[in-house]
């Protein structure tokens, strides 16, 4: 069948779908939010600061935890969609759908390597379209099957969007020092979104009991994984 004939097939789709598509109004006015974000970003660029400070929680614990489990024994579980950031300690991380309706994990591959307190997250765009991403990030830790935000000191990110073309990759370096000394455990960096809460990609890594960081390759397997068990 020729393409234009298929478009003619579409011509007779149900009237209600044509009307629906014409009258559709999105409930949430995200477009307005995006405009505000764009204006905010422009202002930040103009003043040369381009930083947006966000407090994820109160100050980090004075005494670094010895293990992640000990650290989070008193973790507070918050069942609402977004974390209660004013509560000391740890709050349950909102488990975003993988890459909310963005290019999707099958098109954006994420890998991470740790160097000291820097996490180098490599995004590879294997789609045939440009991919836009932001610099927001936060750190989460896995405790008994639940992800929790890791409390941090204040830290800054550039409120800017970047874009890489089809087939291109880029490595973003995220500073993990605001999260203090990390206890052994499984972690992930939620990153890549235009805000903290949109189109989040996860870069997974592990800190072993020996203090060694094991990142992940683009398929999500630990570095060095050969497929052998």
């Amino acid at each position: 069948m020729r393409q234009i004939d298929f478009l003619e097939v579409l011509e007779n789709i149900d009237d209600k779908y044509i009307e629906e598509a014409e009258t559709y109004k999105k409930a949430r006015k995200r477009a307005d939010v995006r405009i505000l974000l764009a204006v905010a970003a422009s202002l930040l660029v103009v003043i040369g600061v381009a930083a947006n400070f966000v407090r994820l929680a109160l100050k980090k614990k004075e005494v670094p935890p010895t293990t992640a489990r000990q650290a989070f024994t008193e973790a507070e579980t918050v069942t609402s969609e977004m974390p209660a950031t004013t509560t000391p300690g740890f709050t349950e991380a909102y488990n975003f759908e993988p890459v909310n309706d963005s290019l999707g994990t099958q098109f954006i591959l994420v890998s991470v390597r740790l160097e000291g307190d820097k996490a180098n997250v490599k995004f590879t765009n294997i789609s045939d379209e440009p991919w836009s991403f932001g610099e927001y990030y936060r750190l989460e830790v896995l405790i008994e099957g639940q992800w929790y935000y890791v409390p941090s000191e204040d830290y800054a990110v550039h409120d800017l969007m970047h874009e890489i073309g089809p087939g291109a990759d880029i490595t973003m370096t995220y500073d993990l020092s605001p999260f203090g000394e990390l206890a052994p455990g499984d972690y992930r960096i939620a990153c890549g979104g235009p805000t903290f809460n949109e189109n989040v990609y996860y870069a997974y890594f592990t800190k072993t009991d020996d203090g060694v960081f094991i990142g992940t390759d683009p398929t999500g397997y630990p570095e060095g994984y050969t497929g052998e068990t």
Binding site: D15, Y17, E20
Partner: protein, 186 residues
């Protein structure tokens, strides 16, 4: 004026019907035509032809959703004009892009029995659309019925162009699988 009253004017053979139609749906029809033709003059002609066609169709027809009824006529006329304009050349407009994308659903080969299966295909597409969420369905219809560009859909939906591009690509693939699963040879 309410659609019901406009339709009544047509039934009364009152030429004010066309004026009211133009006032209420002129821009809507022009947008549909211009998305396909990307030419102001051709689009305006198609819109005018639409009014004539509606005048000839009502009565005896009494459309339940007038906007969809008139939109379908505009789209049909515009597609025919597009085929006429592009019989030997490829255009550089949004319609060309839409057609390229639709190639992922159909093979591009003419099918002698096409007419016979067209109605079944439309029914199957309607069934498929019913399985989609409203958002996904709107994206698909805006892209392949209205031939909106990705940027316009993203703006309408309040989301990113990436989101729209990826979503419609997935819907296309799913539609192809769905139709093949229903026994259609595409």
């Amino acid at each position: 004026m309410e659609d019901e009253n406009i339709i009544r004017l047509y039934w009364d053979r009152d030429e004010a019907a066309i004026e009211e139609t133009s006032r209420k749906y002129g821009r809507y029809c022009f947008a549909i035509a211009n998305n396909i033709l990307f030419n102001r003059e051709d689009s305006e002609e198609c819109v005018n032809d639409t009014y004539v066609k509606v005048w000839e169709s009502i009565p005896p027809k009494r459309p339940s959703i007038f906007s969809a009824f008139i939109g379908k006529i505009t789209r049909n006329i515009s597609l025919n004009r597009y085929k006429l304009n592009n019989a030997e050349k490829r255009g550089g407009n949004e319609m060309t892009v839409v057609l390229d994308e639709v190639r992922e659903i159909v093979s591009g080969e003419p099918d002698p029995e096409e007419e016979a299966i067209r109605a079944d295909l439309t029914a199957a597409v309607n069934d498929f659309l019913a399985t989609l969420s409203v958002e996904k369905r709107v994206m698909f219809v805006r892209r392949y019925w209205y031939a909106d560009d990705v940027k316009s859909i993203a703006s309408r939906m309040g989301t990113s162009e990436n989101n729209i591009s990826v979503s419609v690509r997935r819907i296309r693939n799913n539609l192809r699988d769905y139709l093949i699963g229903r026994g259609f040879e595409l």
